[in-house]
Each structure stands twice: as C-alpha cells, then as structure tokens.
C-alpha cells in the first residue's frame, strides 16, 4: 500500500531511520526527481558504454575471446534495459523519451563515454579501470540505497560487473606478460584513460549533497576515488606500466599514494556534452536511431 509523509522533514526522518522507498509510495517530488535523474544517468551510461565498446567488438582478437566480449556487452546493454525500466516506472519520463533525450544531447551519461576507444588497448583499459571505478560507485550506492527498486537491480548489476572487471584484469595481465608492441599499446591506452576513469567519481562531495542526505549514495566521492587510487596505482606499477601522473607521490608514513592536483575541466566539458568524442558518439547514436525508426513504428502500429 502506498505510504505518505506529511512533509519533507518526516520523509527524511524515515530515510534516516533506514526506510526503503517503493515505487508506489507518495514520495516528495524533490526525492523522485533526484533519484530519477541519477538512475537515468546510470542507464544512459550503460547504454553509451556498450556503444563505446562496440567500435571494437568486431575486431576482437580471437574467436573464443570475442564470445566473452559479446557476453560482456550483452550484460552492459541488459543493465541499461533494466535501469530504463526502473526509471520509467517512476513516472517522470517513458523509456522512449529518455532515449530521445539522450540522442538529442539533452541528458547526461558518464564522462568516460565521451571519449573514443582509439585502440584495442583502450578496450582493455575500459574493462579494467573504468569498470572498476563504476563498480566501486555502484557498490557504494547498493550498500545503503533508500530507493528499493534501484537497490534490487544493483545487486544483479554488481555481480555481473565483477566478472567484467576480472575479464579486463585477465586481459591486462596477458598484455603485461606479452610483447613490446602489446605493452606499448596498453601504455598508450593507460595514458588516455587513467584520468577520465579517476574523474568518473566526480569532484569532492559538497556538504549539502542531497544524494548523500537521502541515502542514495553512502560514500563521499573523494573517499571512493582515493580507494581506487590506492588499489590501481600500485597494481599498474607492479605490472610494469607507468601511471601517467607527473606529480605522483607516496607517503611512507600514511602508506598512501597521492596523484597530485586533479584538473576538473575535462569532466566539466563532458557534462556539457563537449568531451573529445561527445559529438560523434551522440550524433552516431541519433543517426542509427533515426535510420531504424521505421521498424519501431511498424511494430508499435502492429501491437497497438
């Protein structure tokens, strides 16, 4: 049965008490819109991530290897599919409206998918570095998420993303033990993807971040980002790669790595759809969408 709260203060007390909101509840509009926008961006990112990777799927080196890469992309688009359903159920926009907004450049997706995968090494770097960053963010949301339908879907997504990260790690290790050409290609990819992957966590959380206040996120951005740095900097170095951070330092006392100052301008550009590959990525998605409109219209007409 739908629940109601007399005002925002009562609703927030419910959330602070560990309450879980369900789709039929009469949630405050501020909460509904914030959660919807967050899930829509997650859905868009899964879908655009699939498009970023698709540039290289047909070129995957190896037949069995290609099958696992296809399985990964199927998962990513499947996550988008599930997330669009969860978002659409909130009654703010339909799935078609969300996709049309995405194709029109009106809604956001993660910064990393505004970059082009230039080589096969980029494909591996995405599976390894980016999927790990996305997984860490999702785990932090899942831990304490107050919106029930999203939390339940995240459980499945997280288990599949774990496999993807391991696939990326396995491929990175092969390259690390491989030929000079392979190592050179992956180092080039690392130079391109290290900073965008790190920036995926976003700048330090603001004190009044409603996503934290309403228990959508459970960790501050800077905490998640730091955990990622502490894990990946030594790992990449141990495999013989150079972390592309000129101001990288290691504090013997705290036993922690510091990548130095972070330039947030590239992230800001992606948020305004002005990343290095934003125009091509969105433009291609839109022209593909338009080219196949006849099939959608025909099937809609035949089922209505």
């Amino acid at each position: 049965m739908a629940r109601e709260w007399k005002d925002l203060a009562e609703f927030e007390a419910f959330l602070d008490d560990g309450g879980i909101v369900e789709v039929d509840d009469d949630m405050p509009d501020e909460y509904r819109n914030a959660v919807f926008t967050f899930i829509e961006m997650h859905a868009n990112s899964e879908y655009m991530g699939g498009l970023t990777e698709r540039d290289w799927i047909p070129k995957t080196p190896g037949l069995r290897h290609k099958m696992s890469v296809l399985a990964k992309t199927q998962d990513e688009i499947g996550h988008g599919h599930l997330l669009y359903m969860v978002a659409a159920d909130m009654g703010v926009k339909t799935r078609t409206e969300m996709l049309e907004d995405l194709m029109a450049g009106k809604s956001r997706f993660h910064n990393v998918f505004h970059y082009k995968a230039e080589t096969w090494g980029d494909q591996v770097a995405i599976a390894f570095l980016v999927d790990a960053a996305a997984l860490a963010s999702q785990q932090a949301v899942f831990k304490n998420c107050s919106y029930g339908p999203y939390r339940r879907i995240l459980k499945r997504i997280i288990s599949e993303e774990g496999f993807h990260m391991r696939l990326g790690e396995d491929r990175m290790m092969r390259i690390a033990q491989g030929t000079d050409t392979q190592k050179e290609i992956f180092q080039g990819a690392l130079d391109r993807w290290f900073w965008p992957a790190l920036q995926l966590f976003g700048p330090d959380s603001k004190p009044n971040d409603v996503l934290l206040k309403w228990h959508i996120k459970s960790e501050r951005n800077e905490v998640l980002r730091d955990k990622w740095v502490q894990k990946f900097v030594p790992m990449l170095q141990s495999y013989g790669f150079t972390v592309p951070a000129p101001d990288l330092t290691y504090d013997e006392e705290t036993k922690k790595w510091d990548v130095g100052p972070i330039d947030w301008e590239p992230l800001k550009k992606t948020l305004a759809q002005g990343g290095p590959d934003s125009a091509r990525r969105i433009g291609e998605a839109r022209s593909n969408w338009e080219r196949t409109a006849w099939a959608r219209q025909a099937l809609e007409a035949s089922t209505s």
Partner: protein, 257 residues
C-alpha cells in the same frame, strides 16, 4: 566404417565458416538495432553462432590431429588464405540496412536449423553431439526471427522494405543452399542424413508463404555471378571483412591477447 576425411574436413569448414561469419555480422548490429531488446537478442544469437563455429573448428582440429587450443581455433578462423575458406556469399555480404540484416537472419536461421537437423543422427558421433546442442539454440533463433518478421509484415511500409531486402538477397540464397562437391561422400557415409540442397523446396514454400515472393523456378541452377554458388570462391565483401576481423591480430602476429 572409415571416415571420408577429406570430404568431412571440407564439409565441416563450410558449416564452420558460415557460422563464424554469420556470428561476426551480428556483432555489427549490437547497440544500433532498432530497440534495446533487439541489441540483446543479437548479442546472444551472435554468441551462439560463434560458439557453433568453435565446435565445428574443434572437430576440424581433431581431424588434423591438432589440440583445439585458442590458437589452433584462431588459425582456422582467421589464418587461412581466402581460397581456403568455404563460406557462402550470404554471410560475407556487408549491409547497413536493418531490413537486409533481418531478412538474412531469417533466411540463414531457417536453413541453419535444417542443416543441424540433418546431422542429429550422424554416423560421426562428435558431430551428432554438436548438432543436438546447436539445434536446441537454433529453435530460439528461428522463433526470434519469425516473431520480428511477422510483426513487421503487418505494416505495409515495413512489408515493402522486407520485400526489397529479399530481392537483394535472392541471388545469394542459392549459394547458401548449394551442396558442396564433398556432400555426396558425406551423405553416403551417413555423416549427414541429406544434402544441404534438400532444404530448397521447404525454404521456397516458407518464403512464398511469408513474403509472397516466388523463388524463380530453377534459381539454384542460375549461380550468383560473384561466387558461382561455389564455396571455393569468395565475394567482393570477403577481403574487407577479413581485414576488419584481423586488424588487432595483424598488429603483432606473435602476440596473445
């Protein structure tokens, strides 16, 4: 009974190459199909077709006395000269038209399902085992293609697009169904219960029923000019397709990715 090894190798390669290149063509549509459910279906069907190719290449390895490692499979999948492939033109054909891609999926899976069914009681047990597994998956592929085509045929504009797609693919159907010169020995040895061409009457009937298109009488005898319906000749789309598949492999022939 001894196996006709040379004919069997050609027969396995013809089917494996078709499965491999059909799976490859499906990968091109992931993320750009008309709707998300279709992206998902093609990712899944593409994996199945590549998986069938792997099973068949494994059997070729066995005949060659080679362990079916990733490298041995890839040597067969990517490492032969163009004249050593046995694919038909339909699976080599490059298209960016969704109607053609769907019509090809429908035709290919209709024929593929029958090809596997001819092998379910094969005298060559490893092939019979592979056929049982593949046939299970194929019934889903056919249902998927049928449901989409049936839905689209309710719309007059979509019907026109599909009819046009069929017209452009028509010259390639003969090559898909043509029995290679090795098939007489294969049927004789009980490896397949019928030659591939045995599908033609049934396929013609299905195409006429679904699309109102009559396959011209004797169309099998009028070979496609690019390949002569002969699986030993490649079409013009093969070289760019192979170059695309080999792009990363060619960066360093000694690398393992």
């Amino acid at each position: 009974m001894s196996l006709p090894n040379e004919a069997l190798r050609e027969f396995l390669l013809a089917f494996a190459d078709d499965e491999h290149l059909m799976g490859q063509q499906h990968t091109e549509w992931i993320g750009v199909a008309p709707f998300l459910e279709e992206d998902l279906a093609l990712a899944s069907i593409g994996q199945d077709e590549l998986g069938h190719a792997v099973m068949l290449y494994e059997l070729v390895c066995e005949l060659d006395g080679v362990e079916p490692t990733d490298e041995a499979i890839d040597a067969l999948a990517y490492g032969r000269g163009a004249d050593e492939y046995r694919s038909c033109r339909l699976v080599e054909f490059a298209t960016v038209d969704w109607a053609e891609a769907l019509a090809r999926h429908w035709i290919y899976d209709m024929v593929e399902g029958r090809r596997w069914s001819f092998l379910e009681d094969s005298s060559y047990q490893p092939l019979a085992d592979a056929a049982v597994r593949a046939s299970r998956e194929e019934s889903y592929h056919r249902r998927h293609a049928e449901a989409l085509v049936n839905g689209l045929l309710n719309d007059p504009m979509a019907q026109q697009r599909l009819a046009a797609a069929f017209a452009s693919l028509m010259p390639m159907i003969g090559g898909l169904c043509a029995s290679g010169p090795w098939e007489a020995d294969i049927v004789e040895a009980g490896i397949a219960s019928a030659p591939t061409a045995a599908i033609v009457p049934e396929l013609s009937r299905f195409i006429t029923e679904r699309f109102g298109v009559e396959l011209p009488a004797g169309f099998m005898a009028k070979p496609d000019p690019q390949t002569n319906n002969d699986r030993t000749q490649r079409s013009e789309d093969f070289a760019p397709l192979m170059a695309r598949m080999r792009e990363v492999l060619d960066l360093d022939l000694t690398a393992q990715w």
